[in-house]
Symmetry: C2
Subunit: 457 residues, 2 copies
């Protein structure tokens, strides 16, 4: 392995330059104006894989393309499917970025750019680790299939379709995904549970047009007041969701899980300081880590209606809209939640306005077993890459594709987060630690060896 | 008076052309980018008054200018002060205008433009009526002072200052204002009561920056959720305000008032159809007219926070803002309401966020006596101008200057609305009925005669 370590060390700067190249492409999948940029990122990833002599294709879909590549099968060794995404979240609000989101800037040992950690930087570690093997050993110790998509930030509809229609091609023993976080700086983790999500837009309409709030106030329901009232009714003052039967399918934490979480060195004061809040918040009876990792939540993601300009406008607005989402825990079904929500809104909607609920993306949560040989292999690889044993954590974010892999391919996913909690994922000034980029490549390089030791019978 | 009627008839088209000239000036006082347009409108009004040989000046203020003009005193006749405003509300939302807001369009007997009814069209009737007198009789039958300002839509701060500092100059027996509505098409009205207002902006801030709603949901208070919760707590499901002691100073309606309102031919079904709502809404125990005219209300005028673009963004926003206002009834003090509100928000604000309440403009409500000789004079003038006796109504909108005239000059105001309820005041497609413009000029022409008959002893 010395040879591999040596190659990695020698090409460290080039690997970073290549990451910056990818980060310069504004592959914002949510915004149709960036469609060509998204394609450019796909082509960039495909060229990387082709450069390793992998059989590579850019697959057209009804949306953004999927990049697929595979190395030859290795007898006696398992097949691993690497999943990642080259698309990114919108960069807004633009004025809060210290340096422009698509001009990667290196400072304080980090690279700052939209997509740095989510997921371009993390995804690239698994391509660079294959390069390490190919350029030193001339081959990989096991078969790797790469499925790198461009619609992760918009619900992955076309990857699901592709997955359902290409099960044989994608068949594997385990999936590897790096699209989440370590537990803390210097403390790597294996994420064994994820939340699901149910995302909605709610449009409340009242009078035909904006009205004078003096002349008409007190006679018609104000759609902004109504929207706020509906949204407020969804949760109580502690953030516990008030939709009838919402908690029916929620699986509680086990005592060992709660003990494990409690044993983690979570610095609540430091966490608050980092976020700049004076108090934490959430469902009573649960610790902060429990709430973040394993309890359902409801957040309004955006709201707008009426006059938002300078000064005053005494208007009773004709309509108001909000985007909001529930984070779900394993066993909660986003469709069932949507049905429950729709019924609840129908019941509580104030008179004289219409409330239209638009169902956006939904995904189930996920929990895997800590006893699998793949988890053991990943544990060893991380020890070698990061010089420290990983802890076992869960995550509040969603990787809905994980559920799809389980359902379609009957395989588990290794969720190996190289990011950090303060990477500003989905926020201005997103970053990725350069040392973690290198450690991730090294851990991935060792992961191929550790997984290759497992029999694929 | 035949001579006056004849002149009015003859110059009908030119009067309309002049109104359109004024409507073409985008004098949006709330938006600093329109400062020069606001000035142009002031100059336009001043030229009109100068053209009638009135002693006229454009008075500079710290904000937009005030136009002041006066005719000579007439012995034995009272002095009337005409108040109006040449500034307008912002035209947004732009995409809902059928024709552009500052390109007046004549259709269906109306002129469509921002400011058509509020207040350029109504204000101009009192200048054109003076023109009728000057061009036919060579003088006015009483002294008229004109105070036409450019900051009515932003709280009139500089007019209040001017008023306080120039009481002698502005001294008068009665004020005439046309900045409200008739009761119905063909049914003119004298408005004897107005609501006050207390307008606020509430800024809720939480974490230092936008966060990933999966990773951080369930641990920090979401400022949009918090803002909705605070706003929803302000009123109950019927729109009754929940701020402690808010109703302490509310003067209830008298039985004769309630009977008078009930006798008005208010077509509730037609009102709903016009607004495009399926149900009306408001405090229980009061009729729709009572709620609109004489009960306090609370409306959110605008709200924004988080992601408002295309698609989905799973963000926990760092901040959220709303503009909202209370309509107050006579005897309620906007400063006291602001204090009560501030205390209430401090009490109910969710933990972990800061709520900053910005006090914007405030004004008291107003009720006048129906027995005054000025009301009798106005009643006669309206009968002549509109061919029908006015009804006596109140109005949900605010004309805070009315309270200031009462306090500073110790005079009552005649509120003679030439507009209609469906004029789309403050909304897209604002209009003013051309026939009402003409009838308003005629009523105003007669008003000078009727008022002149009153002794000013």
């Amino acid at each position: 392995m010395q040879e591999l370590d040596g190659f990695l060390e020698e090409h460290r700067d080039r690997f970073l330059q290549e990451l910056c190249e990818l980060l310069r492409i504004p592959s914002v999948s949510t915004d149709s104006r960036h469609a060509e940029d998204v394609r450019s990122a796909a082509v960039w990833v495909a060229k990387q894989l082709e450069g390793l002599s992998l059989s590579t294709k850019v697959i057209e879909t009804e949306g953004h393309p999927i990049v697929y590549a595979e190395s030859p099968p290795v007898e006696g060794a398992p097949t691993v499917l690497v999943y990642g995404h080259y698309d990114v979240q919108p960069p807004e609000p633009m004025d809060e970025w210290i340096t422009p989101p698509f001009q990667p800037d290196i400072r304080d040992g980090n690279v700052y750019a939209r997509g740095a950690t989510d997921d371009k930087g993390q995804m690239l570690t698994h391509i660079k680790s294959a390069e390490v093997w190919m350029r030193t050993k001339g081959s990989l110790p096991l078969q790797i299939k790469y499925l790198i998509e461009g619609e992760e930030e918009v619900g992955s509809a076309n990857v699901y379709k592709y997955l359902a229609e290409n099960k044989e091609q994608l068949a594997c023993d385990v999936v590897v995904i790096s699209d989440c976080s370590q537990f803390a700086p210097g403390q790597p983790a294996i994420t064994y549970g994820l939340k699901g999500i149910a995302y909605f837009e709610l449009r409340v309409t009242g009078p035909r047009q904006d009205l004078h709030s003096g002349t008409f106030g007190g006679s018609v329901t104000n759609p902004v007041n109504a929207l706020c009232r509906i949204l407020t009714a969804l949760v109580d003052g502690d953030g516990r969701i008030q939709i009838p039967d919402f908690y029916d399918d929620v699986v509680g934490l086990t005592d060992p899980e709660r003990r494990q979480f409690a044993s983690l060195p979570f610095d609540e004061r430091g966490f608050m300081e980092k976020l700049g809040v004076s108090e934490l918040f959430g469902e009573s009876g649960f610790s902060t880590l429990e709430r973040r990792w394993a309890r359902p939540t409801c957040d309004i993601n955006g709201i707008w209606g009426g006059y938002q300009g300078e000064g005053e406008k005494t208007v009773l607005p004709a309509k108001a809209t909000a985007k909001f989402s529930f984070r779900l825990v394993p066993k909660q079904d986003p469709h069932k939640v949507a049905d429950q929500l729709e019924a609840f809104i129908a019941e509580i909607c104030p008179p004289g306005v219409e409330a239209e609920l638009v169902r956006m993306h939904g995904a189930c949560g996920y929990v895997t077993s800590l006893d699998s040989p793949y988890v053991t292999a990943a544990t060893k690889a991380i020890e070698q890459g990061f010089g420290r044993s990983p802890v076992f954590i869960r995550e509040g974010g969603s990787i809905p594709i994980v559920t799809a892999f389980q359902e379609q391919l009957d395989v588990e996913s290794l969720l190996l987060g190289w990011g950090l909690d303060d990477d500003n994922t989905h926020s201005p000034n997103e970053k990725f630690c350069l040392a973690d980029f290198q450690r991730g490549i090294k851990a991935s390089t060792y992961l191929w060896r550790e997984l290759a030791k497992i029999s694929n019978d």
